[in-house]
Symmetry: C2
Subunit: 329 residues, 2 copies
Amino acid sequence: MRHDVLALGNAIVDVIATAEDDFLIRHAIQKGGMTLIDEPRAEALYGLMGPGRVVSGGSAANTIAGVASFGGAGAYIGKVRNDELGKLYRHDLTATGVTFATADAVSGPTTARCLIAVTPDGQRSMSTYLGACQGLSTLDVDADLVRSSAIVYLEGYLWDPPAAKEAFRKASEIAHAAGSRVALTLSDSFCVDRWRDEFLGLIRNGVVDIVFANEHELRSLYQTADIDTAINAMREEPVLAVVTRSENGAMAIARSETIAVPAYPVERVVDTTGAGDLFAAGFLFGLAGGRDHRDCLRLGALAAAEIISHIGARPETSLRTLAEQNGLG
Amino acid sequence: MRHDVLALGNAIVDVIATAEDDFLIRHAIQKGGMTLIDEPRAEALYGLMGPGRVVSGGSAANTIAGVASFGGAGAYIGKVRNDELGKLYRHDLTATGVTFATADAVSGPTTARCLIAVTPDGQRSMSTYLGACQGLSTLDVDADLVRSSAIVYLEGYLWDPPAAKEAFRKASEIAHAAGSRVALTLSDSFCVDRWRDEFLGLIRNGVVDIVFANEHELRSLYQTADIDTAINAMREEPVLAVVTRSENGAMAIARSETIAVPAYPVERVVDTTGAGDLFAAGFLFGLAGGRDHRDCLRLGALAAAEIISHIGARPETSLRTLAEQNGLG
């Protein structure tokens, strides 16, 4: 079977609860960011959080679930354990129609959890215990699956668990040998801070062909407070860059052309969790289907608008139907 | 510590997924109802469902979480196992501020699950595996806790696991001996079908003082297709009856007076799960605070409107704040 997109990422179950801003301050949670935590901190923080909703997440997995919701053929590589949360994760991702054949870890740390505090402004602040994700390795990269996919999509967060880097590099090599494209999301400005030089290496040495970033991540990559400086620096890189700008829409930047589209209007921003992930879903679905960059951006903006209008990072309505209703079918 | 309301119920974790109507037909799920299932059926059905959200539920527990959200002092008696879902359940209910001290089951069936299919019309259809709930018994009824509570609220669903009936009767006896009131929700028209004579006995023999019912349940109780006939029959019973009528509002019926209030307008009905539970929360909170029946009904209608405007049966905004904003603070 051919796949439009294969995504590699940290397989993480989200526990989402609403919180006031002072909760973040009291418990030293970086607002708007993703902070890595260990299991004792995860247990302690969970005990302090309000009532939660448990939903499957993980950045690249959200993206691939979005591709499937558009009607695309998606596959996923990521690591869960054979525990209750792992079963839930596998069920949810498989139920979206995504091919997810990575073997469970049968020992070691438990399935990863991300504790997400959503403040009244719709902003989400994430504390992640990577757990079983740390077991993802080159052994999990199924070469046939990579070769079957038009685009391989990798999340920058994979740079955090050490063995996953090698899985990432292996997937990129196989994809390029098969004539497929490789995309990377910078994931988070703090993640860029941790891995700036390596990310620039991936971009400049042909390991990736397409880069997704929001303004924070782009400014962090080039260590500048000025977004135009960062965009101009990105324009010089040998990649297609897709830059998301929240309510200001999004841009596709290549050396020769820049295309911008506005954001879709949203009645009320409920929870921004997954906005970037779903933007990538729309863009990649369009790209795999041979659509031009403007349509790809529009598909991304549409999916992002759907995801921020409710709690959770997986689509609640069919993106395929939504695309048809908005003249993008 | 004094409690406004103590609720006894089946402690159930909800797994909520959207589904089309033909999913219900294909898998023989009673639309709008609550069907009891065994563990193999629960496993099979879960495998067939779409991606789900896991949230703590259980009818009476939803009610008591609602009472706490209004700012009332709530307590709960219900049975979970010491497994992952049980931990999640205890966390979520405790995090709402409710006192929940019932001991975990340490052996036997796993924590109860309710698989909820939400169709595009917002209607929910429930398939429940009672699991650990079946272990709730008179041993779990803490007499001091019952005596500390102004109102004891019992769900009709407790009639399904056999040992829970006795827990229910014991709680009622202790409450009445302490001068507290006892309320019962009829829970579901199919539940009324299963236990009609016993429910009428509870109402006529002074075991309960207040009865919550929707129109389906009331018609089922008196086996009539005509709602006015059912309401007139209820008026003759020696209880205060609270009848919810969906978009037609709600009524408080006693022999001497009938008070009706309209429903609060809702922009879009997303998921009706918990509407009756939260109506009861508002009414009971008002009653425990000495408010008149009209205000109690209004508080119920307000809480019901909040709950049906999003997925899940636990409030997502502070009901206390909502009450203040609507002149009911």
